[in-house]
């Protein structure tokens, strides 16, 4: 599993959802988080973080810059190459999942989510990266 001290960027326009995601991540053993309210602010947080961000967990559907916009931007930047990027979204339609996979998402978690569903995605990505 990813080291517990990995800094995680949580992006969601809904404060309650950020809080819920962080609660789940804490239950998984993580403790270092930064937050942003949309894709553009997420990019600023990611680029400007003094401690390098190791994982991004982002909502898809946000006003302005979306999670998929942020994912594409991250994947286009060589310094963030291979960064684990998880989309957490209420959009569970095959078309959306396909779009996320095409854009290079590491894992896709459908809301409502459980700690277990998030953990499964983290573990699968970690194993893939370690292989």
């Amino acid at each position: 599993m990813f080291p517990a001290n990995t800094r995680i960027l949580v992006v969601d326009d809904m404060m309650t959802m950020r809080k819920l995601v962080i609660k789940a991540l804490k239950e998984m053993g993580f403790s270092d988080f930064i937050e942003a309210g949309d894709g553009a602010k997420g990019w600023e947080a990611l680029s400007g973080s003094t401690v390098p961000v190791g994982i991004v967990v982002s909502d898809w559907n946000m006003p302005g810059s979306t999670g998929i916009d942020l994912l594409k931007r991250v994947r286009a930047e060589s310094r963030f190459k291979g960064m684990p990027f998880f989309l957490l979204t209420a959009e569970a339609e095959a078309q959306q999942v396909a779009e996320a996979i095409k854009a290079g998402v590491s894992g896709y978690v459908v809301k409502p989510f459980t700690v277990e569903s998030l953990k499964i995605q983290f573990e699968a990505t970690y194993k893939k990266m370690a292989a």
């Binding site: 309650t16 959802m17 809080k19 559907n61 209420a90 959009e91 569970a92 896709y108 409502p112 989510f113």
Partner: protein, 281 residues
């Protein structure tokens, strides 16, 4: 560990006495594919698991076959009374690929689903197939995300004669599509909303702070996501929508359309309701 298979008309059933493991899924999917290739009448593949579930790794074999079947307008089913498996399949967004069912009678011919691009009829009064995804979505979202058990009560049409219902906070979505123009709102009293938020975050809240308010919108967002997926499979064309939150003591939700459908729910902390409003009602 093994399985028995039988073919009954358009249906092929794999009967298992244990969990559907990675190895069993690989073997069953290979046999199902072979049968699908030679038997064009075959439309449904059912994994009859009894009380058992599916191991997570089995999905790497089930999903490609399930997706290929869907493309061919066929369907794969997981018949199990293990509700954790139903939840897992749904939470991973795989229920289109492998549909979780509790009874064999739920295996419906795919002809009931409109062909791709064919619009579903607009919902009429108390159209159960339109309403149910919202009811199921509400119960599912509250159970999974807020550990809150709720029960759906009898829906009714809101008219000018309906007594005003107490609402302190509501999440509202405006929706425009080929088949539906209207709005959806989820409405809570302070007491019920605080009880749900307290369970969601595992800490007791006594007042609705700014930080908590958008929880109403997020709950509605998740319910809509659940319903949208099911309804779009039936030919509706709902797009993404962003909820807004309205908060005031004892507020009224007024929609521009003539009437609304009220879906009441009862939870331990009290009642709350969803209001679906469209000119078609």
């Amino acid at each position: 560990m093994s399985f028995e298979k039988k073919i009954d008309g358009r249906m092929m059933v794999f009967q298992l006495k244990d969990e559907l493991t990675d190895t069993l899924a690989a073997s069953a999917c290979a046999q199902a594919q072979e049968e699908l290739d030679k038997n064009t009448q075959l439309e449904h593949i059912v994994f009859d698991l009894g009380e058992n579930g599916i191991s997570y790794h089995a999905f790497r074999h089930l999903c490609p076959l399930g997706l290929a079947m869907r493309k061919a307008k066929k369907q794969m089913f997981a018949l199990t009374t293990d509700m954790a498996t139903h939840r897992m399949i749904r939470s991973e967004g795989m229920d289109k690929t492998i549909k979780p069912i509790q009874m064999l009678s739920e295996v419906n011919p795919p002809a009931e689903t409109p062909a791709a691009g064919q619009a579903a009829p607009a919902p009429s009064k108390l159209d159960v197939s339109f309403i149910n995804p919202f009811v199921e979505g509400t119960l599912h979202v509250l159970k999974v995300q807020a550990q809150t058990e709720a029960a759906a009560e009898k829906p009714f049409m809101k008219t000018s004669a309906t007594p005003k219902m107490h609402v302190d906070i509501a999440g509202i979505l405006g929706i425009t599509s080929k088949t539906f123009n209207g709005g959806i709102a989820i409405c809570f009293t302070d007491k019920v909303f605080l009880a749900i938020m307290s369970k969601m975050f595992g800490e007791e809240y006594k007042e609705i702070t700014k930080d908590l308010e958008d929880g109403a919108g997020e709950i509605l967002n998740m319910i809509f996501g659940h319903a949208k997926k099911i309804l779009n499979e039936k030919g509706h064309a709902f797009d993404k929508a962003l909820p807004t939150i309205v908060r005031a003591p004892n507020l009224s939700i007024n929609h521009s359309s003539k009437s609304s459908l009220i879906l009441p729910f009862k939870a331990e902390a009290g009642t709350f309701f969803m209001e679906i409003s469209t000119e078609k009602f």
